[in-house]
Symmetry: D2
Subunit: 306 residues, 4 copies
């Protein structure tokens, strides 16, 4: 088998589900904060032997990477997905010579408090469902630290102020031009943070997340849209305009089609009131926008190198 | 085949996804309200021929039931899942003699507005993810109207104020007694509304939904729990106490286990701070509570009659 | 809260995932058989105290019910989902006076062998994906044993020999009559076994499963269909005709619509060749057929009592 | 917004579900063949205007790309996922100057015949569930054609012949060495086909798929494993050894943990017989193996460029 070459490889424990409770004082110590994470670890390095002969002498078990996640949550707390992932990525690379690069991916599920008027202690929560926050941190011996942030499953809709016309008509085109349509999408967004932010131990990751999220939502709502591409571009630019530590934004926007139902056969006029919300097929619009002079780093496809 | 008997049967179009936009005035007519529903229709009646010989003379096509859903949304609007389902159920039974009973099930997905400070028009929305509202309306020629309401996928957590001990120990018991644990569950709730409420064309279904939801959440948060059963009972009773038009509540509460991670091997003390959130297996606690003197009607199992 | 009545309730550990390996000899003991199950336990009985006061004195922990599943797999093996569930259900009811009834639900995932021509030992498997086998066993102190078997997620298609016409046309009907259509469905089937079969410790559950499955498939393929209801009836009758220990069959058949794509705009004739496979909405046809003289027991709806 | 740069972008219709029926003669023309596909289109090119101003003059609607998929299925048939995707990719790039590159992704769902002894016509099918076949074809004006093939959701298990020991022990390591464990994984495989195969209109894509699949399964079954990495490497090499038109293989192998259940508390010895099949967390092993002298092209991560 020596004629075959082992190329990129990585391994680790994926989807470590962790809930971290912190007590923030209060008169009886019962003011709780929670962070609810799904943490995945991938290690890259010198793993030729384990692949070719099953010699595990260079292999830190995936079980150990899991233990490290839980132990670090206790030792260091979870101040943000990004900060927690940076700690983990650096630990793996610096603790074992064989590990040259570590990538930590985090999903965070948000909770809000259940208001309980009758007491001061606060330790009851209801899970928010609007979106999942994401982070991906890569730390490499040679190229240093890279921090991506993002979100997914944020579903938004404009019930008007969207048109689509003036497009190419070829022999397979039957689409009618639209002058007032619903525009709905489920946002997946990733953004690359500057090296300065990544290196700053005081960087406010929660704050920059909230800002990026808010400005994307506002740009979606405020843009009178002639195409979903235009809306995508506006959303990405708005984040770059308002969050100075973000250098690059990539958006993946499925066009969640809402088709106006034909009610003519029943003697009814459908004046943009009744829509069928379709599952599949759907348009899929993807794009990257970055600051001038910056090299884009976010992967552009989930299958193939460009 | 005449020796076999056709028993209960039903048919209809399931999962009709419908978005209904209403314009509520504003200076430019651009204050939009949306209702986002998934509507399923089941018809019951005299369908022996279609089963035995494929004679469709008594069969209203499922496609027609779908058309009816969309046409009714235009003609009557959607003031609430329950009110919309009542209209549909009555229509099917009264419009075709062969249809003796109709059951309409609705899921409703909630949206909230994206705040847009720069304009007065409001037609931008972000989907809430906390829970799905449900309704089930059955209208029968002989037994009349029955309206169930409910919700599902409402995930809640108390990070303390939960214990579990004093239980039976048999030869297969290894569980340690717990004096401070996380209690988390994903609530599925159904409640039966009184005949009076069902018959009242002015009944405020959105209002009673909000009240039931709020009191379940508060009961979950305020109950110092010695078992999930006790919490279930408190939640159901609270709804009965506060929503006079509800006669019966059934809850399905998976115990979403959060296991305290053993950090002793790493020289760390885990003082109820770091938990592993498990997927499966899970405890599953189900129960019905109803007003005295009322006959329970909500099905108790999804597979078998009692 | 004494004015409210606790009605039907049950609890137990759900979705215990278990793989049981058995070595069936061979020259080196390496002929392995596997059973891969998902087992859920529900206990019913005298649980008033645990609900009203949190007194767990009558409560066998759900964790113990999980341990029992695993211990029984070792002690008794898994000869079939039904036989294993019968053992468990009887154990719970007979071992604790407070438990009056136990219901065990099982899903079984099938595996087939990976052919390895180079060796005699057989311990390599690939998971089959066609369907999930199901069983539900209820054992009650008062009413004894009830055994349901079934399957789900068995997707089938006839690419011709299906028509649909002659149906009711009302004011909301736009459907065209069809004289040659695809008929596709994802079968969920449950069947009730006779008390004799349930009581017979030698009953061949795997054999009756294979027979029921085969005859449903053949009936689906051989029936020239004028409605999915007719096909449903034929499938149920065929099982009753060929499996004498089955008394009742209930089928849940979503009509997985395949719409003929209109290719006329492109100058192409679509002679039943190119279809769009839709996700939602879908027709949903459900029905029970039983032997004459038998009382049907399979639940007819997942939400509400009839 | 001129200070921001639009970088990689693409768009098209995703998840076009298509069933293509072909009649292969037989005495009455009723021998049917089916191909059941999920086809996604992504177009890349000169789309600056549509993003910056919403001018759609360069934009072929995603709806048109959908129509093209269905029309091509009629005009050209579907001889294999790869061949169909090549036709589509070339069409888009050659038909519109603005489109510089097209990527077509296909999932194929397999069906097998329902045996019907009583007739010669064959048009009844049951869907196989073992795996989904995948293909991805990229055609670029400048770099030409690239064809990836693959599969996903192929779940396999060895119930013995797997060990794991000799690994690094650091301060967070608690894992015990294992000398006989279950090895189970759900295979996602992608392989890159040679330019020669891609350019050959007669290439037997179905044949090379079957060969790659068979040899991966055999390598999994026959490899006595000291690590999942070793098994991964053996599987990839086996494909390269037996399928000469494949240049590169990438595997994504989650380690589906089966934990031996501790039955000691119940006085039972668990001699590798009873396992708990866990959902999450899981080890995740990924790697690429390619022929010497070949440049790897399959993306190594779904989030970030290396």
């Amino acid at each position: 088998m020596s004629k075959h070459v082992l190329a990129q490889n990585q391994y680790g424990k994926a989807e470590n589900r962790i809930v971290r409770i912190a007590r923030r004082g209060g008169e009886d110590g019962a003011w709780h904060e929670i962070r609810d994470l799904n943490v995945s670890v991938a290690l890259r390095g010198e793993y030729r032997d384990v692949h070719l002969t099953g010699d595990n002498g260079n292999c830190l078990p995936t079980d150990t990477t899991k233990n490290t996640v839980y132990a670090f949550a206790k030792e260091h707390g979870v101040t943000s997905p990004e900060a927690f992932a940076i700690l983990l990525a650096k630990h793996f690379v610096t603790s074992q010579p064989v590990i040259r690069e570590a990538q930590i991916r985090v999903e965070e599920f948000a909770w809000e408090r259940i208001p309980v008027p009758t007491r001061k202690e606060q330790h009851s929560f209801v899970r928010q469902g609007q979106e999942v926050r994401t982070a991906q941190v890569t730390y490499s011996e040679t190229t240093g630290l890279q921090v991506l942030s993002g979100l997914k499953e944020l579903t938004v809709m404009n019930s008007t102020n969207s048109e689509f016309h003036g497009f190419i008509k070829d022999e397979y085109t039957t689409l009618q031009e639209a002058y007032d349509r619903i525009l709905a999408t489920k946002v997946t967004a990733r953004w690359a943070n500057s090296a300065t932010a990544a290196a700053d131990p005081e960087h406010d990751w929660d704050g920059s997340y909230r800002k990026a999220r808010r400005h994307m939502l506002e740009a979606f709502a405020e843009t009178y849209s002639y195409s979903l591409q235009q809306t995508l571009h506006a959303m990405a630019c708005r984040v770059l305009d308002h969050v100075p530590t973000v250098n690059e934004v990539r958006l993946n926007l499925p066009n969640k089609h809402h088709f106006l139902v034909d009610l003519e056969p029943f003697g009814l006029k459908n004046d943009n009131e009744v829509y069928f919300a379709a599952d599949r097929m759907y348009g899929l619009i993807e794009g990257t926008v970055h600051r001038d002079g910056v090299q884009p780093v976010i992967a552009t496809s989930d299958w193939i190198t460009a």
